[in-house]
């Protein structure tokens, strides 16, 4: 479980996140919704360690991880994708995934120079896992293409693939659906559901498509103007006057009535 307690983030004079407290329960799929600029991505960046909160604390399974460096959170099973694709542009697609595999032996510089044979087995495993992931994402034909040459949607898929290369506990997905075609998107939804059911992976996803959110999420956190407006099930959220006002702009969003 991830818990945020009174977390704030200020950028100079701008308060992007103000006194936010909510939790992402283990084994559930939690949605985060809210208008543009509400502070959703900033919250993710703080949970992932890319940004330090100005105040407040973040806990992972009871442990205070507020000031843990980003790269140390991965070993605790915390993974994330980025809203704007963060591909490794001058590396091939398959390398983009292999680099996310567990290669700690081969990442030791002495082993790299003097004992390359000792990590060959890991390299085989990393390659096989990467290909399996690419096949699932239906981009295995692109394995030798430079990631920088992929389309926007394909880059998002690569982001998702990167989180699946090891055994995650919590996966934060920042608008994974943006720019991905509908049939693949529902395939991803099935996969998320399946990973959640079979392995108990915890998911937290930022999404603007409310249908997608209602299909997947147990609980929803609504952020608006840097604060938590409300939390609850999707049905409860949809009936909330303030949410309708803040988020759907007075019911203009068709999905709100769906």
């Amino acid at each position: 479980m991830i818990q945020l307690e009174n977390v704030s983030k200020r950028f100079g004079g701008l308060t992007a996140v103000h006194n936010c407290s909510f939790s992402i329960p283990t084994g559930q799929i939690t949605g985060v919704i809210g208008p543009n600029g509400a502070g959703k991505t900033t919250v993710f960046n703080m949970i992932a360690g890319l940004l330090q909160p100005s105040s407040g604390q973040i806990f992972l399974d009871g442990e205070d991880i507020t000031s843990l460096p980003a790269h140390k959170r991965q070993s605790k099973g915390l993974y994330r994708t980025f809203q704007l694709a963060h591909e490794f542009s001058r590396m091939t697609v398959v390398e983009n995934l292999m680099v996310a595999a567990d290669s700690s032996i081969g990442e030791n510089v002495f082993n790299a120079i003097f004992r390359p044979s000792i990590f060959q087995k890991h390299e085989h495993a990393a390659y096989d896992k990467a290909m399996e992931t690419l096949r699932f994402l239906e981009i295995e034909k692109l394995q030798d293409e430079l990631a920088g040459n992929l389309s926007g949607g394909q880059k998002k898929l690569l982001e998702l693939g990167r989180t699946l290369m090891q055994t995650p506990k919590v996966i934060l997905l920042d608008e994974i659906g943006a720019g991905v075609n509908r049939s693949l998107l529902s395939k991803i939804a099935v996969k998320i559901q399946q990973l959640n059911d079979d392995f108990g992976y915890t998911f937290c996803l930022i999404e603007h498509d409310l249908d997608y959110v209602s299909r997947l999420c147990d609980e929803v956190v609504v952020l608006a103007q840097a604060t938590v407006l409300t939390t609850g099930t999707i049905d409860k959220i949809k009936r909330d006057e303030r949410v309708v006002e803040a988020y759907f702009g007075g019911g203009k969003y068709e999905g709100a009535h769906a």
Binding site: A70, H71, F82, M91, E95, V99, S103, A112
Partner: protein, 317 residues
């Protein structure tokens, strides 16, 4: 006679090109793989040259020296000192964004240069260190010695290439390239970007110092003039960018080609009227700059662009 003169011109060309190839391979590890903008190459080159010179010189004039250590000891000391200095600098600067890192390294190289010029007890100031031996001097004499030395230099080139190649195709190199391409994403998959960059900077510094040591042994005399940033840092960058950043073979090819052009421009500027002679070095730089323009117009990523390591061995299964 004509022919052997030409041959030995070629040998001296290959010697210098080899020394530059080591620098370029080192810069390729730092910039090509790691995205670290080191604009202070001359500083590490100077550290290596002076360390080796002081440790191995057979007699000192006014500075410390005359230790008469073997060339291998000298190179080891050069590597260790450059590695330590590189580590210290990396700890402080390596997380800077690339243009700031460039500025910081320019400044540091200039500090190193000032120390060399001013600390006469250590380096003999602007007079330089002399009596520097060459490898196997006792065994080979005269022109044979030139050939032995060029072979020695290219053995070091091959060693550097071998190490760089292994680094490139290992998970270490893959993580490093990921950090180069996107630091935040690399952090999010658990890569300690600061540590990788520090290692990269140190490895590059060590090989730049080895190149410096080689040149000290080649010239047998080393003064601050030989550490001109134009001559070292600028040329090495042109070589790597023209040859192909991110490609070890490209780094070596760039060193050979650019050094060939640089040497030829010396002959060309020799024909200039005498009142132009003082400006010849600027003319040569201009020509090198034009060459780089020409190459990059045609080959945007250099003559031998970066290529991902082959995965054929993994595909078999």
């Amino acid at each position: 006679m004509e022919l052997s003169g030409l041959f030995f011109y070629f040998v001296s060309f290959l010697t210098m090109a080899g020394i530059y190839a080591v620098i370029c391979l080192a810069l390729n590890i730092q910039w090509g793989f790691g995205g670290l903008f080191n604009a202070g190459i001359a500083g590490f080159y100077a550290i290596g040259a002076y360390s080796a010179a002081i440790i191995t010189s057979t007699a000192a004039s006014n500075n410390v020296g005359g230790f008469q250590q073997s060339i291998f000891v000298g190179m080891a000391v050069a590597a260790v000192i450059a590695g330590l200095v590189g580590w210290g600098i990396a700890r402080l600067c390596v997380s800077l964004k690339s243009d700031y890192l460039a500025m910081a390294t320019i400044g540091i190289a200039e500090i190193i240069r000032l120390i060399i010029v001013n600390e006469e007890w250590l380096t003999n100031g602007s007079l330089g260190v002399s009596n520097i031996p060459r490898p196997f001097e006792g065994v080979f004499k005269g022109q044979t010695a030139e050939i032995v030395f060029v072979l020695f230099v290219w053995m070091i080139v091959l060693l550097t290439y071998f190490i760089s190649h292994r680094l490139h195709k290992s998970p270490w190199g893959r993580a490093l390239r990921a950090i180069r391409d996107n630091e935040d994403a690399a952090e999010s998959i658990g890569k300690d970007t600061h540590s990788f960059r520090t290692q990269t900077f140190v490895i590059g510094a060590i090989f730049m110092a080895l190149a410096g040591a080689l040149s000290a042994h080649y010239f047998k005399y080393f003064s601050p003039d030989a550490t001109e940033p134009i001559l070292i840092t600028f040329l090495a960058w042109v070589m790597l960018i023209a040859g192909g950043s991110g490609n070890n073979k490209g780094a070596i090819a760039g060193a050979l080609i650019v050094w060939a052009i640089w040497s030829m421009t010396e002959i060309l500027t020799g024909f200039l009227p005498s009142e132009w002679a003082t400006r010849s070095s600027y003319m040569r730089m201009l020509l090198i700059g034009l060459f780089l323009q020409f190459v990059l117009q045609r080959y945007r990523s250099g003559l031998l662009p970066e290529r991902a390591p082959k995965l054929d061995k993994l595909r078999r299964s």
